[in-house]
Amino acid sequence: MTPTVLILGATSDMAVAIARRYAAGNYAIQLAARKPEQLYALQQDLHIRSGAAVTTHAFDALDFDSHHTFYHQLPVKPDVVICVFGYLGSQETGQQNWQEASRILHTNYTGAVSVLNVVAEDMAARRSGAIVGISSVAGERGRMSNYLYGSAKAGFTAYLSGLRNRLFHAGVHVMSVQPGFVYTRMTEDLTLPPLLTARPEDVAKDIFKAVIAKKNVIYTKWFWRYIMFIIRSIPEFIFKKMKL
């Protein structure tokens, strides 16, 4: 039988690349986003490229109460769930304005936890499945330029590692993805160093392979693991003086 992947937050560039990679791998695809009418073109695209069965679903990360119904109304229970949505927001605005801050925190952390809790219960009961969470290297050390986003991603990273620990015993695989810089619409206003920056297709390829290999934590590009090791190792009394 064809396996099914559910992609949460399917309108982002990263999600498009992931969906295409899974479609090429002969998965049936469930696309979920706030405005499902925006998924029509992607649905056609995936179907034309690979003949995949593709369905679209309304999903709002911030509407926590709807998550249980959303998941249980899916036509098929997915084998792989990939949590891609996220909100970078503006650190500066968030410092002064709680609305922006809370949107950053709730999208990247609470919303993700809320929906993955539901998924986890179902997969644990079925004793099968894989959950992939796209976190960020920004969560590994708070920096003045984006610690609201970073702290939410840090929470998400810790959540995923706890979930991995728990679900291991139920035969469910949980993988965390720590992307560094990626060229997407979200980052197009930043100047990114080309050698350190991945394309969404590269991230998608990495994820597809790593899920099959049942990896726990992947960094993409791979050398971010070492970059982050160095960044984590800088003593705090020096780190705080840097303007990062």
């Binding site: 309108t11 498009v16 056609q44 034309i48 619409r185 197009e188 100047t191």
Partner: protein, 443 residues
Amino acid sequence: MRKQLSNWGNYPVLTCEESSFSQEEQLKQYVDTHDHIIARGNGRCYGDASLGEHSVSTLRYDKALLFDVETGDFECQAGMTLDQVLEITVPKGWFLPVTPGTKFITVGGAVASDVHGKNHHAEGSFSNHIIRMDVLTGKGLITCSRDNNSDLYWATCGGMGLTGIITSVRFRLKKIATAYIRQKQIKAENLDEILRLFDEHAHYTYSMAWIDCLQKGKAFGRSILIVGEHATPGELNHKQGRDPLVLPPKMKLTVPFNLPSFALNNFSVKAFNALYYGKNYKKVMEGVVPYEPFFYPLDAIHHWNRGYGRDGFVQYQFVLPIDRKEGLTAILRAISDKGWGSFLAVLKVFGKQDDLISFPMEGYTLALDFPVRKGLFPFLDELDALVLQYGGRLYLTKDARMQQEVFWKSYPNAAKFMDIVRTYNPGGKFRSVQSDRLLLTPQ
């Protein structure tokens, strides 16, 4: 965000704001709130045609919308690149009706430049195969075709983005039985011979020639004609025949950084050309090759444009009417006299003109690369004078420096084109550095 942008020739480099969209609403909102906008595909035009104050990248708007494997009708968002189209359609037995010499261009770019391929004499240019398209004009999103809003349709084909942003295109593919080309290469001693060979091989669907521009005397215009047809399954060898619509995996080469400009000089160009035309090359060579090296010989070397160094280069492509071939001699002579070598000199024969503002006209077209250096632009102005004298014109998508009068004297439908542009682009919302330079921006 403002950044330094340039297209394939790395000349000019300009400060532009580049933004992108992946949903139609995002684009609409952007167009409503900005002025001085120009669409940008993959930046494979050589010069300044897709540079402007606000260059809007279409590359994220790249979804396939329809593919009818019975009729070959294909529709996609305008930012899909030709290599993506091929990846989807070739395994199902369909090919692009027209393709330029690189597959790394977008469908929107193919329409806006009305690109031609090696089959122009037989099958026209890209727009000849369009069924319909959607354009976000200054008056909103409009669907157009030959029968419906046809003025917009004709002005958008080859219109360099000046009618607005093409958002989706439906066109008809071409049926193929294999992913291979039966090709024939014939060496010509000089210009007369190559032109004769073109005539003799006019029945081939695909043809083009490489010219060595640096030769004088008897070998003036020595060249290699390359012609081809889509191969039938019976023409494939055993290995190719196992999976006739799938190409073998290939290697990618890349030029990692700008070569110092001294790497390309008369000496190295001569050496390259000598190798290419080397003595042990047979007069006629035939074979069945995958479609990629046949159509896209340069795509195998990523970023070959960096080979011209930091200052970049311009491509000079002109066309002369079929009855003025003596102009080719005059222009090639001017080039070889001055010793302005060009790695790539590509000669093709065009069929009839397709529409209002497209580049092709029945005749001979030659494309040459010139690294930017002192004295180049005055020299190219001299060549322009020759092109005008022989009734020819230059290709807008490769232009970065032509003077206004050269354009207005050589495109007979320019005024008609501008009337339509004014209707759909009132006030000149859509404009590029090129359109400002050539007086193509409506006021």
